[in-house]
Amino acid sequence: MRGWIRPVAALGLATAMLAVAACGRDADGTQNEGPGTAVGAGPATGEINIWAMGAEGEKLSALIEGFTKDNPEATVKVTPIPWDGAHDKISTAITAGETPDVALIGTTWMGEFARTGGLDPTPEDLIKPADFYPGAWDTTVVDGTSYGVPWYVETRLFYVNKEVAGKAGITAPPTTWEDLKAAFAAMQDKGGAKWGVSLQPGATGSWQSVMPFVWQNGGTVQKEDGSFDFDSPESVAALEYYKSFFSEGLSPSDLPQGSLEPEFVKGDIGAFVSGPWHIGILEEQGAAGEYELWGMPTKQSATSFVGGGDLAVFKDAANREGAWKFVSYLSRPDVQATWFQTVGDLPSVKSAWDDPALKENPLLSAFGTQLNDAKSPPTISTWDQVAAVFDDKMEALIKTGMTPAEAAAAIQEEATSIGTGA
């Protein structure tokens, strides 16, 4: 009666031993995979499955008709998934080998997913890197190989209250670090603003506000050899400049949630840094036309941050050719322009900006101009964790007595112990 126990136990033990024996990392690690195999010409066929998050997921079906007109043999199935949990869902799909053909991937996730070996390298015959903004293209490149295509982009500018700037006697956007600070000081002294500018006082996502200043000063995240470079003199000087806005009383360090926009509209806050979505938010607050946009100031360069979303094809895609053809269709300038009209996503393809809707809108064209000088963080798989350390130290830098040099050294030390995941 108990005869079955022994074979089962033996089987279990054997499996466990096999598992332990199979454990252990390969010595070689990641390497440059080189471009993906050519996809070739001709229309796409079969079903193409795509996952997309947020508004992109809900509205993407609007573009399908244009694709199936040229590719009558193909059908496209869009599955909208919420941003919350999208990272885990994609990660689980890669683990199980049950991926869709294409998915929208947040730019800072590319390093992690590419390193799982789950993403297909971009085929060179279909996608031309030079068509895209370089900062956006860099988000797809992991260890020298591109694993996707930038779909849409966003970058950061200064939103400035026109009335406050006018009262402060500012006629043209300041172009240097010194002038920028003087302008915010004038907006506070003469313009009637309580705060000249509102910069993020550390905490989640503040690296997106601080890193542009580091880049402007010639600092980098990583040295040529791949080690971190947070404690370079250039970075320290940039942190010092950023902190000075708080220590000189130009920026609030504990603004309650949700009070930025109302206070900006009232003129209590002279300016803030944000991306294109604030055009819509300010319009809802009845402030359309009452503000202007300034590009980043120049130190060594006038670099801003570029974010957005990439499209990637999975190694486990059932319809690889169709998937890349659909991605290439979404990267066509006219389709990118239509997509902007549909959801308001800014095109990642440079020539799409010739569309009059973008070119003749002064607010949007300001973003277009800034995109030519915008950077993204390196595509390392531990970036989210390194960024969290950075955000923590920024908060300590601004709210405690920590000096820029101490903050830079602390970030460097913790980032180095986290490593790049390579």
Partner: protein, 308 residues
């Protein structure tokens, strides 16, 4: 029946009853046991095994292609300054939150079971409502209450001439603010349990105490409290387990800030899973698990029913 020897029938009957009891017993536990075995036991064992390796999110396609690192992840947990900070915060939350919630819950239950007879149902609903309200709605309301310039709390303080602080943005006040909020949010559950416990105390004990000349305080001290011991044990264990894993309040109100002053152990674990440090986060989860078991055992020792 009459033809058979009586004791044999009895034995068979007893055996049948025992079998039936066993079947019924297993029948009752099987839904949990089955679900646990299928959906929990596997993942629990895998996560335990995972905590002895260096698995990261980049390894998910080849989960066996990782190194066995023994207790390295556990050693790392205790050398992680953020984990130590989070442990301190969690300890503070439990140390102040549990007694505060229990005292408040008991006080409300006593009030409702004796003094307040009018609108009793209204008060019960009022105190219980926060328990069943979504934390997201609660957080929105509390953020309004705690607004530094326009919030109700600081407006009231201004009436008596006190310049109220920016509660959630001050690293020294953010965690106590969350403790108060959690107390308010959870005392309704405790109130219900204490009410049930109070109703189970026989009235004749109070009568006897009164005959012996015991005052209100003495009745409370020598009748109510001892009789509530099992109820208090239950409430203490449940509340401690909940507070040791405190997460939602910090997640929706402060995101762990400012300066990590509201970062809890659960929140830290959640973040590490998010960063893809699966094995490190697993190791931390087991450390938290051990802490929960230890605290529960401590409560059992402290509040165990005295031997009769």
């Amino acid at each position: 029946m009459t033809a058979r020897p009586q004791d044999a029938a009895l034995r068979r009957g007893r055996r049948g009853a025992r079998l039936r009891r066993a079947v019924v017993g297993w029948g009752f536990v099987s839904p949990f046991t089955l679900l646990f075995a299928v959906f929990m036991a596997g993942p629990v064992l895998v996560s335990l095994a995972m905590s002895f390796t260096d698995l990261r999110s980049a390894d998910v396609r080849d989960p066996l292609g990782v190194n066995f690192v023994g207790l390295d992840q556990y050693a790392k947990v205790f050398g992680d300054p953020l984990f130590l900070k989070a442990s301190g915060n969690t300890a503070f939350f439990v140390l102040f939150g549990v007694p505060l919630t229990m005292t408040a819950g008991l006080a409300v239950a006593l009030g409702l079971s004796s003094g307040l007879t009018r609108f009793r149902t209204l008060f019960r609903v009022g105190y219980y409502l926060p328990v069943v309200t979504s934390i997201v709605a609660v957080s929105v309301v509390w953020r309004f209450l705690l607004q530094p310039e326009t919030g109700l709390v600081n407006s009231l303080l201004a009436l008596v001439g006190v310049d109220g602080p920016n509660w959630l943005a001050d690293p020294d006040l953010s965690l106590p603010s969350l403790v108060v909020m959690a107390t308010w949010r959870n005392l309704g559950f405790q109130m219900v349990v204490f009410l049930a416990g109070l109703q189970a105390i026989p009235q004749n004990l109070y009568e006897a105490a009164r005959l012996d000349g015991a005052g209100a305080w003495q009745q409370f001290r020598h009748v109510t409290l001892p009789m509530l011991r099992p109820t208090m044990l239950f409430v203490a264990v449940i509340t401690s387990i909940g507070y040791l894993q405190f997460f939602e309040e910090a997640y929706v109100m402060t995101q762990g800030g400012p300066l990590n002053s509201t970062l809890s152990v659960s929140y830290h674990i959640y973040k590490q899973f998010g960063f893809g440090n699966y094995s490190y986060a697993s190791a931390m989860s087991y450390v938290l698990f051990v802490a929960i078991v230890a605290l529960s055992l401590l409560w059992f020792r402290l509040l165990k029913r005295k031997e009769q």
